[in-house]
Symmetry: C2
Subunit: 245 residues, 2 copies
Amino acid sequence: MSAAAANASPIKALVFDVFGTVVDWRSSIIREGKALAKRKGIGHVDWAEFADAWRAGYGPAMNRVRKGELPWMNIDPLHRLILDGLLVRFKIDGLEEADKEHFNRAWHRLDAWPDSARGLTLLRKKFICATLSNGNVSLLVNMAKYAGLQWDTVLSAELMKAYKPDAIVYQRAAEMLGAGPAETLMVAAHKGDLQGARRAGLKAAFVERPLEKGPGGKADTGREDWMDYYARDFVDLAKQLGVRG
Amino acid sequence: MSAAAANASPIKALVFDVFGTVVDWRSSIIREGKALAKRKGIGHVDWAEFADAWRAGYGPAMNRVRKGELPWMNIDPLHRLILDGLLVRFKIDGLEEADKEHFNRAWHRLDAWPDSARGLTLLRKKFICATLSNGNVSLLVNMAKYAGLQWDTVLSAELMKAYKPDAIVYQRAAEMLGAGPAETLMVAAHKGDLQGARRAGLKAAFVERPLEKGPGGKADTGREDWMDYYARDFVDLAKQLGVRG
């Protein structure tokens, strides 16, 4: 669809991917790992490697739920399942249950990218702005408070008991916001998520987050024909969507 | 439960009834009725009576869904069902479909009580604050934008496909916010809603809204033993919950 055609149906609501798109999960998990290491005297772990491994476990864990190998569960226990495996793999011993729970909830305490709060404030002047994350509701609510992000509401795949990129997640989100799929713009830094949204009839805005996977991490950026919008950050997206600063 | 016992388990989250508790539905619907009357030249309708009749149809309509006489539907079509009956009863003819839809969505454009926004800002300093209304998500999102209310998230009975005072609505809301039932405080101006919350294990804060049913409307106020908190308004509730202004 050309940008002109995309603009033909007016946008009412924006739904945002969160991990990587709104918040910098990698730096935040590294920070939390280092804090844990300092508190517990753990000297041998590369926390960047640990953060990447934790994140890498996320897709496969959701797939196990999708395939019915695991019963429905939200992201908190899935993160914990991955964490328990990584503690063995990285030879981290001697953590109390409370330490593990606190560390698992590091995903509730992720820092926003520098433009996120400001861009969101701009975008909310003109549009309904909601999360649409595979993260659970309480994770997203706690994160918003922690990171100073203000949403119109928090929507989560938890509400649909399905995970993105399943079409039902995008479609129900639009419906709950009182918007048609074509009136709803999915905002994400990940092409797979945006392609899922497009298959469900939503519009797609790619936002560049070149550092999501770290300085040498090769984030999958680059404009493609099917994208309705392509933005450097949330402030740039607001400008492209006609919001006055 | 005594106030001391109630305070033994710390409160993490507040969930708010909305119609009547946060917003003044009656004055707002009267205002919208008068605007419609002016636009369409309708001279014979008492809009206070109309507003009261619309609201009076709400409980019975939800009961028809609860009993399976109507399929699951959210509040927008239920409001419309009641409206269509009232247009006949009040002999209001000649409205276009677009007029009816706009009037039905008057419930998305309700004014807050004077203390609501300020009280909510105070309460959010210390607690997660979410709606918990039988109103649907988009109604609550639109109303928050219209009335200048800022929630941590919007929770609605729509998410549970059940209506308050069914216990599942309160219990799932607490769970979604990552709080135990006893860590969750239901805030409402209606005793039936609070009793439903108590049956589901939540705590209960009554907030006086003496004008909810109009100047002569006899709102059901008055402290009762089972209430954990009893407040004049949201600012008073914040004070009682130890929030510093």
